[in-house]
């Protein structure tokens, strides 16, 4: 078996007394696309900074290509680069911004060609942009210049923190296309944090859900946080906006976050009866995405203001004739919910 690109074991990171990250085990394979999802404060950006060798974890080990990252950060940073959510451009021209990393590495032969090539990859015409100053760019253009200054390095690993969050649709499309090029041309491994689920599930080989600094699941997990109350019939109940209730078992009274795998949700066209499942919730289909890693379809169903994700086969989607806007019933057992905290 080949050595994974990254292997993290028992990695912990604290900010003051707050534990921002506590991963038991995470492997990232070469040439793959890993998606990271999770709510704000779930540790996604911290994990990216650790993978970028910008932060040293307070505990655990980080192996990069089988070698411990400890005191090799500078060496590894030559192969790994991170694109921040809000890009920072040096107070120089676009050309100097894109060329900066190459100059640091002393890779000056063919510098002009590589800079031009990187700009073209992100959809910026070199003749228009090379001489522009950093303040003469729109937000989307600045993000693309920042991406070009990473792509020009032909990195082994490209880490991206919400690369399309603060840009317009046109820029987002060009960024996505550029990332596809990088993968195709140089086999770059991508680790992407994004709330653009449709794109993420389409391109990612694997998606990791983080919650409270821990891995909640490998894949799009459903999370129900807060407002769990003990039920008179035993277990716990979670009240949805429209009055429907989600029921969970094994409640000790202290837990407040439950997760539910998309594999455990069944969808029905009609209101079911005579079934043993305790959760039968009415909702409507809001979105359907193809999941690259599993080859299945992720169906998002809005139930009482809460979006549930169910993983279905393409055949099932066809048989049920699912489409956005269609009313459905989401079914799952109370025991299928796992308590995270």
């Amino acid at each position: 078996m080949s050595t994974p690109l990254y292997e993290l074991r028992q990695v912990e990171r604290f900010y003051g007394s707050r534990k921002a990250l506590g991963l038991e085990h995470l492997k990232i394979k070469s040439h793959k696309v890993l998606g990271l999802v999770g709510p704000n404060g779930s540790g996604k950006s911290t994990l990216l900074r650790i993978l970028a060798f910008l932060e040293i974890p307070d505990g655990g080990s980080v192996l990069y290509r089988g070698k411990s990252a400890l005191s090799r950060e500078e060496e590894f940073r030559k192969e790994v680069t991170l694109l921040l959510q809000e890009p920072y451009l040096l107070k120089r021209t676009v050309r100097e911004n894109v060329a900066y990393g190459l100059r640091l590495r002393g890779e000056t032969p063919q510098l002009n060609e590589r800079v031009r090539e990187a700009l073209l990859t992100v959809g910026l015409e070199p003749s228009d942009f090379l001489r522009r100053q950093w303040y003469q760019l729109s937000g989307g253009e600045a993000q693309r210049v920042a991406l070009a200054s990473r792509l020009v390095l032909r990195p082994r690993v490209l880490l991206l923190d919400e690369p399309t969050a603060s840009v317009d649709v046109g820029s987002a499309a060009k960024i996505k296309a550029a990332l596809g090029e990088a993968r195709k041309n140089w086999g770059t491994t991508l680790v992407v944090v994004s709330h653009d689920f449709q794109w993420l599930y389409e391109v990612a080989d694997e998606v990791v859900s983080l919650f409270n600094g821990r891995i909640a699941s490998f894949g799009p997990e459903n999370l129900f946080a807060g407002s769990w109350k003990a039920s008179s019939a035993g277990g716990a109940e979670y009240l949805l906006e429209d009055g429907q209730r989600i029921k969970a078992s094994d409640f000790s009274g202290e837990e407040n976050v439950a997760s539910l795998s998309p594999d455990n949700i069944l969808l029905s066209e009609k209101e079911p009866s005579g079934l043993s499942v305790r959760n039968s919730l009415k909702g409507y289909v809001s979105q359907m995405l193809y999941e690259n890693g599993s080859g299945r379809v992720l169906v998002r169903v809005v139930v009482g203001g809460h979006a549930l994700t169910a993983r279905l086969t393409a055949e099932a989607v066809q048989e049920l004739a699912l489409h956005p806007g269609k009313n459905v019933w989401a079914l799952f057992k109370a025991s299928a919910l796992r308590w995270l905290a």
Binding site: L54, Y88, K91
Partner: protein, 231 residues
């Protein structure tokens, strides 16, 4: 009121006719202030960068000290430098009293806290994303420090211009250390003080106009740079 208006027109005459005594004071001011600003930038920028960038024991005390020295009165600097470079002083042998290098020494001491404090503030105010960006592009420690200084270049230039404004407008040091010697150490500000004392308003106003023109140029550059820094 009339004598002021009259003085103003006479002053314009002096300026355009090329009054030698007057232009000598202007030349002396430019010479000595250039020397002072050069010395204070050469010393102040590295020290300010160190103060804003590096973490060392006693950094906070140094910062407080530098900030306190921002309000240093020119006559106190004049007094201290005079004491050091007068014949009886420890640097008396250098013969700096009543010379331009002597004035420049005093003005450098006056400008140094300004350059150090503003450079340190500029470096401290650098966007946190800068160091992260530089590191992700592969910068090593030395390259990170160099690039941080380059990134704060406009703010550092602003520090230099602010310090220059203080240097050309001071009178205490030039008067005490230079002695206001005609054709030799007489600067614009000491000449204005002298001419006003003699009741020669026209000469005073003429020199004042030159000083204002320099100040206008300096402040103009400052506001242009400030805009650039804020982008």
């Amino acid at each position: 009121m009339d004598y002021i208006i009259q003085g103003f027109f006479q002053a314009l005459g002096f300026l355009f006719e090329g009054n030698e005594e007057l232009w000598s004071a202007v030349g002396t001011t430019l010479k000595v202030s250039s020397l002072s600003i050069l010395a204070s930038l050469l010393l102040g920028v590295p020290l300010g960068f160190l103060l804003g960038y590096a973490d060392f024991p006693g950094r906070k005390i140094c910062r407080t000290l530098v900030d306190t020295l921002l309000a240093l009165p020119t006559v106190v600097v004049g007094l201290l430098v005079y004491a050091f470079i007068s014949r009886r002083g420890p640097l008396g042998e250098l013969g700096l009293l009543f010379t331009l290098p002597g004035i420049a020494l005093g003005q450098t001491l006056l400008a140094l806290p300004i350059v150090i404090a503003l450079t340190a503030s500029a470096v401290e105010a650098l966007d946190q994303r800068l160091s992260m960006t530089l590191l992700t592009l592969g910068a090593k420690k030395g390259q990170l420090a160099r690039a941080s200084l380059v990134e704060s270049r406009y703010a550092v230039l602003m520090a230099g211009i602010t310090a220059y404004g203080r240097i050309i407008s001071e009178v205490g040091i030039s008067m005490m250390i230079g002695g206001n010697i005609k054709w030799h150490t007489r600067t614009i500000t000491t000449a204005i003080a002298l001419e006003t004392g003699k009741g020669q308003f026209a000469e005073g106003i003429a020199l004042g106009l030159v000083l204002l023109a320099i100040a206008f140029f300096v402040n103009g550059s400052l506001s242009l740079l400030r805009r650039r820094v804020q982008v």
